[in-house]
C-alpha cells in the first residue's frame, strides 16, 4: 500500500504570535516556521505503517512557496520515500487545498491519505473533510488510533462525547489527532539523507486545478487582553461585584 501524507508549513507552535500594527495580518518577519504539529503526527503514523510492513511507500506532499521545501525535507527525514511540492505562492483556502490534494491523490492512487486534523495557523479543520468529499471516499477524522486490516481501517476517533470507533473502507482520508502517537526525534543521519531524496515540483496548472473563489481576510486582531482579576473577601462582596458587572 502507498500512503500519501500532506504537510503544511506553519508558524512554529512555540512562537508568540504578534498581530501587525495595522491589523493586516500576523507578523511573519523572521518568525520560525515548522511543519504543522498534527501533520507531524500523520507523518509519524505513516512511517510506523511502513516500518510495520503495512505500507510499502510513503509520499509526502505540501502546498506552498519555495521555503515549504524545508518542511518536505523534514518529512523525508521522518522517513517519507519521496515528496511532491505543489508550488503556490498565494494564500490557499481549504477548498483550493482540497482540490489540489484531490488531484495529487488521483495521480498517486494511494491506499491511505493521512493528514493532520487541522493546521495550527488558521485552525480551519476543513481540508481533510473536503478532500474526502471531493474524492468521494470515506473519511475518519480526529484519529486517536489507527489499525489497518486488508482494505479496511479501524479508527478510534476523539469526539466530544468520548471515543468513537469506526471502520472505513480504503482508500480513505484519515486526519490525525494529538493522541495518535508521539512523533520521533529526527536523527541527524536521516536529515542528511533527506537532503538527497527526490522532490518533484509541480504547479497548480500542471495538476489542472483552479483556485476556488477564496475568502478574504478583512481584519486580524489579537484576542482581547484579560482584565486583571479582583479579590473578594466575602460572599456579599462577590455577589455585589457580579451584580455590578451585570452578570447576575
Amino acid at each position: 500500500m502507498k500512503v500519501l501524507v500532506s504537510v503544511k508549513r506553519v508558524v512554529d507552535y512555540n512562537v508568540r504570535i504578534q498581530v501587525k500594527g495595522d491589523g493586516s495580518g500576523v507578523n511573519l518577519d523572521g518568525v520560525k516556521m515548522s511543519m504543522n504539529p498534527f501533520d507531524e503526527i500523520a507523518m509519524e503514523e505513516a512511517v510506523r505503517l511502513k516500518e510495520a510492513g503495512t505500507a510499502e511507500e510513503v509520499i509526502a506532499v505540501t502546498i506552498g512557496g519555495d521555503k515549504a521545501e524545508e518542511q518536505l525535507r523534514s518529512a523525508l527525514a521522518f522517513g517519507a520515500d519521496r515528496a511532491i511540492h505543489v508550488k503556490v505562492n498565494e494564500e490557499v483556502s481549504p477548498l483550493t487545498a482540497a482540490r489540489i490534494l484531490k488531484a495529487v491523490f488521483e495521480k498517486e492512487q494511494p491506499g491511505l491519505f493521512l493528514m493532520g486534523k487541522q493546521a495550527i495557523d488558521d485552525d480551519n479543520n476543513q481540508t481533510g473533510q473536503m478532500t474526502s468529499a471531493l474524492l468521494g471516499i470515506p473519511q475518519a477524522t480526529f484519529a486517536g488510533e489507527l489499525k489497518i486490516d486488508g482494505n479496511k481501517a479501524t479508527v478510534v476517533r476523539e469526539v466530544d462525547a468520548g471515543l468513537e470507533t469506526i471502520e472505513v473502507d480504503l482508500p480513505a482520508v484519515v486526519t490525525a489527532d494529538l493522541r495518535l502517537n508521539e512523533p520521533r526525534y529526527l536523527k541527524l543521519p536521516d536529515i542528511m539523507k533527506a537532503k538527497r531524496k527526490p522532490v518533484e515540483t509541480v504547479s497548480m496548472a500542471d495538476l489542472g486545478v483552479e483556485a476556488a473563489p477564496g475568502l478574504t481576510v478583512t481584519k486580524t486582531s489579537p484576542p482581547p487582553a484579560r482584565a486583571a482579576g479582583i479579590k473578594v473577601k466575602t460572599v456579599d462582596e462577590l455577589v455585589a461585584a457580579l451584580k455590578d458587572k451585570g452578570l447576575v
Binding site: N14, G21, G30, V31, K32, L188, M192
Partner: protein
C-alpha cells in the same frame, strides 16, 4: 572529554566542523567554501533554527561583510537602515540627563556608515549564503562535547535526545548524539561557550591573558507610534539607573530605531557589579521610564524580549586561539570590541581568518590535528588586532574610574591619541569575585511594573518564545547542590534569583520553614549569566536537548 561510553554513535567525517551558526561560525563556513568549494564543511547550531538564539543590539559595521561578500547588497543582505544620527546621554537621575555635545563623543561611538540591523536576521541570511555554497547546517543539534583523543580535538559529539529527568532513556524516544569528526573544529559558540570554556581550561589557553570580563545585555523589541519613529536614530546612555560616578554598577543603555516603526531597546549591565541585591532585569524595566526612553516608547507595544551575556575584556583578555585540531573564533574567543559595543564584525573577521588558516593547511595536504599557527599570526597582522588594540583600555578605564571619568579618559585616548596611549591598563579581578556580602549591601527597592513601559519577568520570558522539553536532565548543573541555600543565601542573599533574566532560579520556602533552591530550567534563555556570575562558580551551563531555548524572531 567524552567518557568511554558504550553507546553506538553514528559518525560523519568532514574537513571542518563548526560549532555555532552565529556571525563567526557562518563567516568561517562561507570563507572555507570560497577558498575551496570541495571542502566538506558542517555547522551545528543549538537553536531550533539559525538565528533563534541570536540576540544583539545591533549596530553593524559592514567592514568584515564587505570583505566576505562584497555584493551583499545585490544578494539582499538585511542591512536596511543606515545610521542617521548618534545621541549620547549622561543620565543623572530618574528624570535628569544631559546630552553629550557631538564634539565630545569618542570616535569609537561614531556610527556614520554603519547600519541598524537585527543580527538574527543577518545570520539567517548568512546561513542561506552558506547553504548555497554547499555548507551543511544542522540547527537543533547542539555540540555537547569535544572529541579529544591523545590531546587532539577530532570533532564534536551532539547532544543525546530522549533522556528523562533522571537521565534514563525514554521508551522509544532515546536518540543518542552523533559524532561529527573534522580535520579541524572551529568553536563559535559566542560569549561563554560551554565547550570553549572547557577547552580554555584543558589546554590552559588563558595562562597569559587577563581574566575575561562580561556584561549581561537585556533587550526588547518594540513597535512604536509612527510619529515618534526616526529610522536610523541611535541613542546611547550611561549612568542612571546604574552608576555614573561610582564603579559599583556599570553599564549603558541603547535605543535603536530600525525600520517599520520598530525600535530595539536594551540595557547592558557589567557583571562586575558589587551589590548582590542588584537585578539587571529590574534596572532595565525602570530605565524605560526615564524621559529619554519614554519619549519614544510611550504608546508603543513590546514585541519581544531576551537576554545574552557579552564579552567586555578586550584584547588582553583574549586567550590563546588555537590548540591541536581546532580553534576558538568570535565571542567564544572574546573578539568583542566593547568600547564600540560591537562584536559582530570582529567575530566575522576572526572566523574568516581561522577559515583561511584551515583552508591553507588543508590545501597543503594537511590531515588536521596540528595547531593552526597561521591563524593567530594573521590575526596580529589584521585590522581586527589594530581595532582591538586601540580600544584595549576602555573597559579597564570604566571599571576603575566609572562611567563619567573613565568615559572622559576614553575620549582623550580615542580622539587625541587615536587609541594609542603608551600604556595598557589591566583588571585582574574576576566578575564572580566582586560581590560584597549582603550584610554590607543596600537592598534595592524596585518600582512595580506598570504593564505599559515596564513588565514582570514571567510575561517577559513569555515573549522570548522559549521552550524546552520539560522531562529532560537539567542543563543547569550544580557542582554542589547545597551551596545555594547553605552558602550563597546567607552570604549573598542568593543573587541568582536576581541576575537571571528569565526567573530560572528561585528560593522557595517549604512548609516546614526550610528553604529550597528551585531551578526552572525550561525558562532559560541561554544567556550564560549564571555560569559567569555565581560567586561560588557552582553553576555549569550545558546544552539542553536540541532545539530547546528561545525562539527569537528578529533579535
Amino acid at each position: 572529554m567524552t567518557e568511554n561510553e558504550a553507546v553506538e554513535r553514528d559518525v560523519m567525517e568532514y574537513d571542518v566542523v563548526i560549532v555555532g551558526a552565529g556571525p563567526a561560525g557562518l563567516s568561517a563556513a562561507i570563507r572555507l567554501k570560497q577558498q575551496n568549494e570541495d571542502l566538506a564543511v558542517c555547522v551545528v547550531e543549538k537553536g531550533s533554527e539559525v538565528g533563534a538564539h541570536i540576540l544583539s543590539g545591533a549596530i553593524f559595521e559592514p567592514r568584515a561583510l564587505n570583505e566576505l561578500i562584497p555584493d551583499w547588497k545585490d544578494k539582499g543582505a538585511p542591512l536596511n537602515t543606515a545610521v542617521s544620527r548618534d545621541d549620547i546621554y549622561f543620565m543623572t537621575g530618574e528624570s535628569g540627563a544631559f546630552k553629550m555635545p557631538g564634539l565630545f563623543v569618542p570616535k569609537t561611538m561614531h556610527n556614520h556608515g554603519n547600519y541598524i540591523i537585527s543580527l538574527g536576521k543577518l545570520c539567517r541570511w548568512l546561513g542561506e549564503q552558506a547553504e548555497a555554497l554547499g555548507v551543511e547546517i544542522y540547527p537543533g543539534f547542539p555540540a555537547q562535547d569535544a572529541i579529544i583523543e591523545d590531546g587532539i580535538v577530532r570533532g564534536i559529539v551532539t547532544g543525546d535526545m530522549g533522556l528523562d529527568k533522571e537521565g534514563k532513556h525514554k521508551e522509544g524516544m532515546y536518540t543518542p548524539g552523533m559524532e561529527l569528526r573534522g580535520k579541524y573544529t572551529l568553536f563559535a559558540e559566542g560569549c561563554r561557550g560551554h565547550i570553549g570554556k572547557k577547552l580554555i581550561r584543558q589546554y590552559e589557553l588563558d595562562n597569559d591573558a587577563d581574566p575575561q570580563h562580561f556584561g549581561i545585555g537585556i533587550k526588547e523589541l518594540w513597535e512604536i507610534p509612527a510619529e515618534k519613529h526616526q529610522p536610523g536614530l541611535v541613542v546611547h546612555s550611561a549612568g542612571w539607573p546604574l552608576d555614573l560616578i561610582g564603579t559599583g554598577s556599570l553599564g549603558g543603555s541603547f535605543l535603536y530605531h530600525l525600520e517599520d516603526n520598530k525600535v530595539a531597546v536594551g540595557l547592558i549591565v557589567d557583571l562586575s557589579y558589587t551589590n548582590p541585591y542588584l537585578s539587571p532585569f529590574d534596572e532595565f524595566q525602570r530605565l524605560k521610564h526615564h524621559p529619554v526612553f519614554k519619549q519614544y516608547l510611550e504608546g508603543g507595544k513590546r514585541l519581544s524580549y531576551g537576554a545574552r551575556a557579552l564579552n567586555k575584556g578586550g584584547l588582553y583578555s583574549i586567550p590563546k586561539m588555537v590548540f591541536p585540531g581546532g580553534a576558538l573564533i568570535g565571542c567564544d574567543l572574546g573578539t568583542m570590541n566593547f568600547a564600540k559595543i560591537k562584536g559582530s564584525h570582529t567575530a566575522m573577521k576572526s572566523g574568516m581568518l581561522a577559515a583561511d588558516a584551515a583552508a591553507t593547511a588543508l590545501k597543503a595536504g594537511g590531515q588536521g590535528a596540528d595547531v593552526l599557527e597561521s591563524y593567530p599570526e594573521a590575526f596580529k597582522a589584521s585590522w581586527l588586532y589594530d581595532e582591538l588594540y586601540r580600544s584595549r583600555n576602555f573597559g579597564v578605564f570604566l571599571h576603575k574610574f566609572g562611567a563619567l571619568i573613565g568615559g572622559a579618559l576614553n575620549f582623550i585616548e580615542q580622539n587625541l591619541f587615536g587609541g594609542k596611549l603608551p600604556f595598557t591598563a589591566h583588571d585582574r579581578k574576576r566578575d564572580h569575585e566582586t560581590l560584597v556580602p549582603a550584610s554590607q549591601a543596600q537592598k534595592i527597592d524596585y518600582p512595580k511594573p506598570d504593564g505599559k513601559l515596564s513588565f514582570d519577568k514571567l510575561s517577559s520570558v513569555f515573549l522570548s518564545s522559549t521552550s524546552h522539553e520539560e522531562d529532560q536532565p537539567s542543563h543547569l548543573q550544580l557542582t554542589d547542590a547545597s551551596i545555594p541555600i547553605d552558602k550563597n543565601l546567607p552570604e549573598y542573599a542568593e543573587p541568582a534569583q536576581r541576575y537571571c533574566p528569565a526567573g530560572v532560579y528561585e528560593v522557595v520556602e517549604e512548609k516546614d520553614g526550610g528553604k529550597r533552591f528551585q531551578i526552572n530550567a525550561a525558562n532559560c534563555v541561554h544567556c550564560k549569566t549564571c555560569d559567569i556570575k555565581d560567586p561560588a562558580q557552582n553553576i555549569t551551563w550545558v546544552a539542553p536537548e536540541g532545539g530547546g531555548g528561545p525562539n527569537y524572531s528578529a533579535m
